[in-house]
Amino acid sequence: MMKCPSCLQAIHRGASACPHCGFDLAGADRRFGTEGPACELLNDRAGLIRSMDRKRLTRMLTGFLARFPQLAFAVHTGSGAGKDLREFAFWLINRGRFVDLPDDRSPSGIVLLAIDADAHAATLCWGYLIDEHLSEADTFQILSRAHAYWVEERYGEGIERVIEQLVLVLIRRARRARRLERRGGRA
């Protein structure tokens, strides 16, 4: 079941706008801007990540790219999105220009972690390539791993836990997807 990033109501997987609140990318553009920002996969606008953590995270992001040849993991920290953090993440994944995204990766393979430092909130948003493979329950489990660290403002370590848990979930989902594909192929 797909959800609207704004009102969180269930929507059809092909809906061009939310039938409940009318939200769509054009509405998000009006709020956040039509011109997406140029950013790196590790985009620490709020300055939450210490330099020593940053090095480790960069290595982890590179490892993620190696393990999942179609995907990329991106982190955005900022402030001001407030309760619109999900809408912001939706807007960023579609409008953002990830300058260090490898050429062989599509933005549809991005998993984006958005953290709002002021609102003390975080969410995950993802591209269409894994649309069928991740659920809200998965993301809650993943984010929960980081909760204890973020409460103590150890953002870098929290993000590491998110990546580790996400990798485990994605490996399981990829295997399941291959199994289903093989069964479908045989049928």
Partner: protein
């Protein structure tokens, strides 16, 4: 019937007359056997061995004594003989060898090696376990039983037991060497715990000699398999089917929305902080 009854009575009366040779060791020899510490290595007051055989055994035991830190003495009894009940054999070690050189005393019944009794002197009684002594005895008895002639049985028994004593010496730390006490000098009493270590090491060496190579191969194989599996898993690449759904909400790349958690409170669980955050900037 009458004849049978009469014969039976005659037989009953005759038994004590025929069994005049009492199996108990004759009293006249008891002093020589059990009175005091034997002054020869072989004690045979009944003359069970011929002169030459006795000399040979005596020489062998004397030679052993010269070569070993533990003496080996033999009290020789006849086949079927019994030690009188009032002789407390188990106390002989204490009585005879309270001080001086350690000794292993064997009560050997000629022609019946399996009846042999071994007594350790107090100096080594603590450092030789019952199990070890039983094993030593068993080996010597087995060696004796391989022969059929009683005198030859005694010879092989003595040889095998002398070999066993050599190992006891080693385990008790009495092994001959320039620094160890010489014959006749007071021998050190080895504490029991120091005995366990060489025994353990010996068992471990024996195990390693027998199973070391197969165990190493199996262990190495398991480790290699674990390492290989770990490397393969690390290098595994995970792909998803390249199926892109119809874009929704106008988003070109994605519209998957996950959970949102807050991390304001360290006392509330993530579950209780799941949901909508406060609008810190009024939605701007």
């Amino acid at each position: 019937m009458r004849a049978f009854t009469l014969a039976g009575w005659i037989a009953m009366l005759a038994v004590p007359l025929v069994a005049q040779d009492d199996p108990t060791v004759p009293d006249k020899h008891l002093e020589r056997y059990f009175g005091k510490k034997p002054d020869t290595f072989l004690v045979d007051p009944q003359g069970l061995l011929s002169g030459e055989q006795r000399r040979e055994r005596e020489q062998f035991l004397a030679y052993h004594s010269k070569d070993s830190e533990i003496d080996f003495q033999v009290l020789l009894f006849g086949e079927g003989q019994q030690v009188p009940g009032d002789v407390r054999v188990e106390e002989l070690g204490e009585r005879f060898y309270d001080d001086g050189k350690p000794c292993l005393l064997a009560l050997y019944f000629l022609g019946e090696p399996e009846r042999v009794r071994l007594i350790l002197s107090p100096q080594i009684a603590d450092v030789v376990s019952v199990a070890e002594l039983a094993r030593l005895r068993q080996q010597a008895v087995r060696a004796a039983e391989a022969r059929t002639v009683a005198e030859e049985q005694l010879e092989d028994f003595c040889i095998q037991l002398a070999i066993g004593i050599f190992w006891i010496e080693r385990e008790a730390g009495l092994g001959g060497g320039p620094d160890t006490a010489g014959p006749g000098e007071e021998n050190p009493v080895v504490p029991p715990e120091s005995k366990d270590r060489p025994a353990m090491a010996k068992r471990w060496k024996a195990w390693a000699a027998e199973w070391g190579v197969p165990a190493g191969v199996i262990g190495g194989g398991v480790l290699a398999a674990i390492l290989l599996r770990w490397i393969l898993r690390r290098r595994a690449r995970h792909r998803f089917p390249d199926r892109l759904p119809t874009p929704r909400l106008g988003g070109e790349h994605g519209a998957g929305i996950g959970a949102l958690i807050e991390f304001r409170s360290s006392t509330r669980s993530p579950t209780h902080q799941k949901g909508e955050p406060d609008d810190s900037l009024g939605g701007l």
